[in-house]
Structure formats: structure tokens, C-alpha cells
Amino acid sequence: MKLAHQFLAEVRLTLIAARVYLPNQLAGLFADAVFFYAIWMALTSLSPSDTRPHIGHGGNILLMYAAFNSVVGTFQALAFAISQEADRGTLEHLALARGGLLIQLVLRGFSDTLFNLFRTAILIGVLALITGIPLNPQAFWPVAISLLALGALGFSLTMAALALYFKRILSFFMIIQFGLLLYFFSVANWQGHMVYLPLAPAAHLLSQSLTGGVWKGEVALFALAQSLLLLGTGFLALSFMYRLVRLRGLLGRY
């Protein structure tokens, strides 16, 4: 029950931030849509048609962009948030949460992941309408989204661990974001060996689940294993860094 209160506190905080900064939220959504539309136009108008099979079909590209948005959303919510909390001077108070900073950050991660999925769903809908890309959701889409969200949370916790130590690391995170965009587009045209690439099987499963594709048990298994591995790595990295910053007196410093 106490954990539920901690989680709901994060949900309330996210909702308040969304309400207080609504114009910014809408502008962000608009910017994401425009950004994808520009990429889409470039791919469909400027690229020779024979190169398009290498980057996948429209649905794949759109859903890889959605996967990118979802991962980056969680990544920003955790890693950027640590930097911001340290700057504001409230990070030490977060560490006084029941169960400590790690638990609270994971709960924040879950809360923000839910919010990002909602936001991404709107984005997919709008972009599908604008570009005319057809979507055909299958019954296993919640599983695919959950696997991707878990992996994204694990990846974000690892990045949060870096933010916890270095604090002023936003430039590096910008590079990571661009890297992620390229990465997700590069795995849009699915190849068998991509099951070994981080987050790729979950993203592929998501793409399949929303474009009328079929359930692939092996890919799902890889996605699950990866997500758990990423989550475990994230927990370990954050635990290690949390201990280190408390030893070196860096927790509240910016």
C-alpha cells in the first residue's frame, strides 16, 4: 500500500507537470510529429525507390519512430530528471523516499513510461492519419509494448546512473538521443541477426503487433531476455552509482 502511495505521488507529479506546462507538452508533440513527417517526406520523395526496401515499409518506419519516442521519453524522464533534481536541490529529498532513491526512481520510471506510452499512442495515431500509413493492431500488442517499456526502463536506469554521478551530462545525452534515432531506423528493416541487438526484438515485435504481423515466439523470448537483462543492468548500475555518490559526497551536488 505504501508503495502504491509512492507510485501515485509520481503519477500526480507527472500530471501536474503536464497541466502546468501544457503548451510545452503540446509543442513537444507537434515537434515530434513534424520531425517524423519531415523524415517521412525525405524518405519517400528524396530517396530512390530501390533503396526503400532497406529501411523497411511505412508502418515499420512509423513504429520504429514510435519506439524511439517511447524509449527516449523514459530515458529523459529518468536521466534528465536526475540532472534537473540535482540542479534544483531536491535530489536529496527524493533519496529520503521510503525504500530510498532507487525505488523511487524506478517508480518514477514506471509512471513516466505509462505517460509516454499514452503520448506515443497519440503520436502514432496522428502520424498514421497524416501519412496515410495503415495500422492493423493485433492481440499481442500489449505484450510487445510491455517488453519494449521494460527494456527502455532498464536502459534509462543505466543512463540515470551516469547522470547521478556526472550530473551535467546533457550534451552526452543529446548524442545518445540522436544515436537512438539512427539505431531504431536502422533496425526498421528486420533481419534475423537483429534479435541480438538491444531493444531491437521488442521494437520489431511492437511493429509487427501494430501492422498486422504475426507473433514470433523466438523474437518475443529474446525481447524478454533482453528486457530483463537491461533492467538488471540498470538496477545494478544505479545501485553502484548511488553508493558511490554517497561515499564521495556528490549526491546533492550539481
Partner: protein
């Protein structure tokens, strides 16, 4: 129930911030933690909260004969400066969030927070963003939240910072009433008058070492010894104290304290190069003790 700090060592690079500090905070008492800037007070508070890990030593909570490590959420905390709440959020949203992350429901937090806001005269600002409040009001709001979390121990780092005299008086009354409710309070402050009025015991830190701890009144009597207060016609107490040497301390701008026998004061009075309006015998204050312990080195040059 008591909080035990046992042989805590904390080092930051070449600086030994805490060197074997041991003390205890009992339920229902106020412990004043005093020391000059850089003495290690805030470091000690953060070690107790678990925000810093010591290289050696530990912090334990003893309850019904059993000892365990305390958790951060068991403390009400006010950290120095404005680092306690979100500036852009309304007071109530802050309270619900910081209460929530400590496992408290809005139903538990809201009435308590309202109660304390009312005590501090801020009830009407419940829905105002923290940033719209003055520095002192922000401090009061942070205090109200720390109290609303119904902690077992309160750790207050410079709680009177930015408070007007009326609010400071109100805070002192609140701290005294909390003692009655069995809450243990660790108070670090440079506002020595407040510490003197509310603390049952004081502990002095210097260079990361705890060199004395005991009941406030007993230490005042023991350390200050016999003393006399001289009221000056001009605000030159600090310069005079430095020039007159050991045994002389400035208290405020126009009061000079002489620590010694009456006969010695009679002999020294003609050498005081300022008009003395009044000489009285008084209780030594914590400020006097503090200045005696941590005061600057007396310059060798004679008074001009």
C-alpha cells in the same frame, strides 16, 4: 527510543570532515549541534539521513532494546537553504508529493500540512506556487511539511534562516511542544539564542571532532564561569574585544563580555578605550561560550 551515532568518520579527499564522532539523540529532547562554518555539522546530518556514507562508524536507531539502521523516510528534514521543495509547484502539491514518496496517502498528509500551515500563518497560500512566497515563507512552508510527515526525529539544519523574529518565536514554541510529543530534534544553527532557549543538550563540533557535549545549562555554567556584561556607548564591541585580548568577547555590537573575577575587571576597566554605560553580572549566553571556544585569534597589536 534513541538515535545513536557511533564513531563516524567521513573524509572528502584531503579534508577529514568527521573524525570519530559519536553522539546520541533521545526521543523527546532537543540537541543543539554547534560549531563554526566547516565544522562538519551538515555532513553529520547527511550521514544520519543516509545521504552520505561514512568510511567508518554507523548510525543506529535503538527501539525497545533492539538496534537497526534508520531509514531516511523516518526523519523530518529541513536542509540548509531552499532545497526542500519544488519552487514551481503549489504548496499542497509539494506536500502531497513529498508525503507520497514517504508512503503517506493524501488523506494523511493534507490535514496535518494544513494544521502546520495555519500555525505558520500560511493557510491561505495552500494553492500558491512556492516561488511566489518570500524566502522566510518558503522556509516556513518547508518546516510545515517536515512536521506534517509526523517524523520520529526531526533534523533541522539552519531552520531559522530567513525567519522574522515573530516566526522564530513561533518556531521555538513549536519545537518545545514537539519535545512534549516525544519527538527527538537535532538542531544545527548559528542562531545561538534560539538553540539556547530550546535545546536540552548541546554538542560542539570543530574540525570534524566532537569535543564536548552535555546539558546546555550545565555547560554554560561550566565553560563561561564568572562573567560580566559591559554595555558600551558606541557599537565598537568587536574591535574592542579583539584589542583587549583573552577574556574579552563581543556580544552584539555594543555589548562586551568580560570572563573573569570582579577584581580583575575593576583593574581592567580603566584600560577600556570606550565609554561604558553599564556593567552587570549576568548568565553567560551560548553565544559567549561559542565565541570563547571558536573565536578568532587575538591580534598582538595594541588598540589604536
Amino acid at each position: 527510543m534513541r538515535l545513536l551515532v557511533q564513531n563516524v568518520h567521513k573524509r572528502f579527499g584531503p579534508v577529514q570532515a568527521l573524525a570519530g564522532v559519536s553522539l546520541e539523540l533521545r526521543a523527546g529532547e532537543v540537541l543543539g549541534l554547534l560549531g563554526p562554518n566547516g565544522a562538519g555539522k551538515t555532513t553529520l546530518v547527511k550521514v544520519i539521513l543516509g545521504l552520505l556514507l561514512p568510511e567508518e562508524g554507523e548510525v543506529l536507531l535503538e527501539e525497545e532494546g533492539r538496534r537497526r539502521r534508520p531509514q531516511g523516510h523516518e526523519f523530518g528534514v529541513l536542509l540548509e537553504g531552499s532545497r526542500n521543495l519544488y519552487l514551481n509547484l503549489p504548496l499542497l502539491a509539494n506536500a502531497l508529493y513529498f508525503g507520497g514518496i514517504r508512503g503517506l496517502s493524501p488523506k494523511e498528509v493534507r490535514p496535518r500540512f494544513l494544521h502546520w500551515l495555519e500555525r505558520f500563518g500560511l493557510k491561505e497560500r495552500l494553492h500558491a506556487p512556492l516561488a511566489s512566497l518570500s524566502r522566510g515563507m518558503q522556509q516556513k512552508a518547508a518546516l510545515a511539511l517536515a512536521l506534517a510527515l509526523r517524523p520520529r526525529f526531526l533534523l533541522l539544519d539552519e531552520p531559522t534562516l530567513g525567519l522574522d523574529p515573530v516566526s522564530r518565536g513561533e518556531l521555538e514554541a513549536i519545537l518545545l511542544s514537539l519535545k512534549g510529543e516525544g519527538i527527538g530534534i537535532l538542531l544545527t544553527s548559528h542562531d545561538l539564542a534560539t538553540v539556547e532557549r530550546v535545546s536540552d543538550r548541546v554538542a560542539f563540533l570543530k574540525g570534524g571532532r566532537l569535543f564536548r557535549e552535555g546539558p546546555t545549562r550545565a555547560l554554560l555554567r561550566e565553560w563561561a564561569g564568572e562573567g560580566y556584561l559591559l554595555r558600551l556607548a558606541e557599537p565598537v564591541a568587536e574591535a574592542l574585544a579583539e584589542a583587549l585580548g583573552p577574556g574579552w568577547l563581543a556580544e552584539g555590537k555594543d555589548r562586551l563580555v568580560f570572563l573573569g573575577e570582579w577584581a580583575a575587571l575593576k583593574e581592567a576597566l580603566p584600560r577600556v578605550p570606550a565609554e561604558v554605560l553599564e556593567v552587570s553580572r549576568g548568565e553567560p549566553s551560548l553565544e559567549t561560550v561559542f565565541l570563547r571556544l571558536f573565536g578568532r585569534e587575538v591580534p598582538k597589536e595594541p588598540f589604536p
